[in-house]
């Protein structure tokens, strides 16, 4: 359990070598070993969604994933979402425009979920967005604005695709 092993994680397109114990979660590996603290810990039990990131393009809870399980797979965290020149992703822009956050602690998880929610084709209506964003708790209660932001981003991404 406790002997650290070498591991290479591909985070935001970059291979990162580190030594972690088999029991180390992906969340703790990112936060405590790689200084990628954008992904947040809210519960460590898969109950809040704050640690949501993408593994091979799908939303995953980093607190319920062992770092070892993510070896060799593409991990995208909030830090890797904006363009290389720093241009915010459409979802990030929409969160700012709609004031879809207050304290901002749940926000990285919300944004990673929202990107996936749109990609999965679950942003068709407000009711659908509410359902497919229900795994990300926001105690500040930004939910109505999160729904508006997902709708706004989905429209913008659609326009981008058409253009």
């Amino acid at each position: 359990m406790s002997t650290p092993r070498p591991l290479t994680l591909i985070v935001n397109g970059e291979p990162r070598a580190l030594q972690v114990e088999p029991r180390t979660t992906l969340l703790d590996a990112l936060r405590e070993r790689l200084d990628l603290t954008g992904t947040k810990k809210g519960c460590d039990h898969g109950q809040c969604g704050a640690c949501t990131l993408h593994v091979d393009g799908e939303r995953v809870l980093a607190c319920l994933t062992l770092a070892q399980q993510a070896e060799g797979r593409r991990i995208t965290t909030i830090e890797g979402l904006a363009g290389p020149d720093g241009t915010l992703h459409a979802v990030q822009k929409a969160f700012l425009a709609e004031d879809a956050f207050q304290c901002g602690y749940c926000t990285p998880g919300q944004i990673m979920s929202a990107v996936a929610c749109i990609r999965e084709g679950h942003a068709g209506s407000a009711a659908e967005i509410r359902e497919f964003m229900a795994g990300n708790l926001c105690r500040c209660g930004a939910y109505p604005h999160i729904v508006a932001a997902v709708q706004r981003a989905a429209r913008a991404l659609e326009q981008e695709t058409l253009a």
């Binding site: 915010l88 425009a97 749940c106």
Partner: protein
Amino acid sequence: MSPLDAPVKRGGAGDGLPVLGAALARLDGVAKLEGSARFALDQPVEGLAHAVLLRATIAAGRVTRIDAAAAEAAPGVLAVLTPDNTAPLAAASSWTGAPPAQPQYRPLDAEIFHHGQQIAAVVAETLEQAQEAARLILVDYEAVPAITGLDDPRAGDGDPIDMLSKSWGDAAAALDKAAVRLTLEYRTPREFNMPIEPHGLIAQWDGEELTLWEPSQWLDGMARTYAEWFGLRFDQVRIVSPYIGGGFGSKALALPHGAVAAMAARQLGRPVKLALTRSQTFTGLGGRPATRQVLEIGATAGGRLLAIRQRGWNETSMNAVSVEPLGSVTGLMYALPNFDSRQNVVPVHTVQPGAKRAPGENPSAFGLESAIDELAHAVGQDPLALRLLNDAEHDHSSGKPWSTRKLREALAAGAVAFGWDRRDPMPRSMRDGHLLIGWGMAAGTYPVRRTAGEALVGILADGSVEVASSTADMGTGAHTILAQTAAEALGLPVERVQVRLGDSRLPRAPVTGGSQMAGLMTGAVHKAALAAREVLIGLALSDPRSPLRGTGANTLRLEGGMLVAPDGTAYDVSAVLKATGRERVEALRDTLAENRLKPEDHYRNFTTVSTMRAPTDGDYSMHSWCAHFVEVAVDEALQTIRLRRVVSAFDSGRLYNPKLAASQWKGGIVMGIGQALLEEGLVDHRHARLMNDNLGDYLLPTNADIPEIEVIDVGEPDPHASALGGKAVGELGIVGVAPAIANALFHATGKRLRSLPLTGQRLAEAG
């Protein structure tokens, strides 16, 4: 232009719009969206050790033995702290400034007062090692029977809190004569704040200097507590809290786990990180205590209020008195000639309760605003009409006039937007297919609290401006509205203002609580900004090379990095500074004098709440007001209750940023929905143990629980409430939500639930 770009555009003096009051996006927003905003536990600190806490598995009694041998021998373990091997700290005075009852404080104590009390800590090289070692500790206890809650017969009636006794007129006599008399009991359960950022900190010692990276709603108050615990001077403690992942009242005070982290860091000579687990956030600190109140209401047959007699109880811990004032709004909302209110606190074996959004006002309004609805039904009146009939022209509790009260306007605007006139008053009369539809409403209020603030405003050579204060932004928008305030005062676009907050080394700020931050800090920043501009103008007028020399101080304005005279003569700020050999001019100002305090009150003002002014201190009674209208749909066969829409109207005085104020109001409403329908700390009454100490079983509202929420602003600037006219925002939104939903549920089903949360099961049990 993409549709994304338009509303993000930031207003500013340059486009002729006022900056303060503009609906700007959050200035700290991008950092939070990119994941680059480092919260306290995200700080990169060299050489961190990780601590985890071990908790008591009994609720009352004492620890007789802790066997930590295996834990100490486990890989990576640096230390195990227990009651046996840690020296007591000095006890700290309370947040009111009251001296401690005992001289010593043991953050790891063998005496057990509640289940989940911290009894030991393991510090190791890695978090995983500390967690594993903590499981190896063996603890023996001597348990005694615990008092589990308000309903435990051994709890008794508790202790009266005389400070909360209020009365005028003769309530008993008026009740005896009243044509209509109702006696109603309302209850609220243990609730928890549950910010998504768990409580925790990094503690680091450098000699006798202690630095804490810790989320804090009150840096100066917490720094004082740490200083007193460890026998340090106030300025030897530094708290850094650049962002706060939500607090809602729970991050204002230094807590036992903070003491342990600082103790461990000192013992090891290494920085220590200690984050409560989610489960520990239910036992390491308390939220809103369970409450019970009995209201006796007397009214005329026409529904005019004659008297209210109120008795309230809230639970507290065995070793501290926490008060949830249930009479906060009972005598305030309506014209009430006779009132009598008393409250007891009942010690039980629980963690010391804390403050959860609108402590007092919130459960108080649940009782009163449910009871008003019951009265309306009893006298056959529309609940909105009954409220207007009983509208208070002045504050009956203090006898003072309102500063501003737009409650009638809120009721009217909310009713129109909701379509209240289409409501059929009969319970069970409105349906949508097989669903019962209920429309309910309730009003709410929150007081204007005031404490003096302090801010530093600097004007730099490039004409940009810096604002600094130790105040906190936990999502309330402090960064943004304080930049707007300085920009407005100095005639600059808001992009030219940098705001630094959340470090106790910065100029002082009182607690970010009681919804007072915006009002008091905008006042302090405004004052400091004008003072900094005066300094700059003074330099420009006295500089012999200045083209402005002799043009007169009060005609100059600051614009785009230039000082400009009415005739258009302009002089570069950088030239003024250069000519006088400065890099910047700055002004540090406080608002002690405006709050009738003296310079010697400075420390006390910022590190205790002893100088916080009551809403009735002065010539007026000052409060924010709101009205909520909600629609519920009930499926009786499935026992489900769904909220369908919310329309709420608010009088918070002047809004410094309507976009962010709307977020605060809606956030309050969402928390109110959770309180009304979902949230309940469930106690196992055999063991006085909280059973649902996790986010899967203690139900917070999710996105899928929240319908559309429309908020309407009916406020206008209140010149008495604050320097710039704003009143309370953050805590107002939650007040009145739960009774509005309870009232809607009654309208839908004809069943009255008087205990929160309002669940399908309770509805079914109501017969």
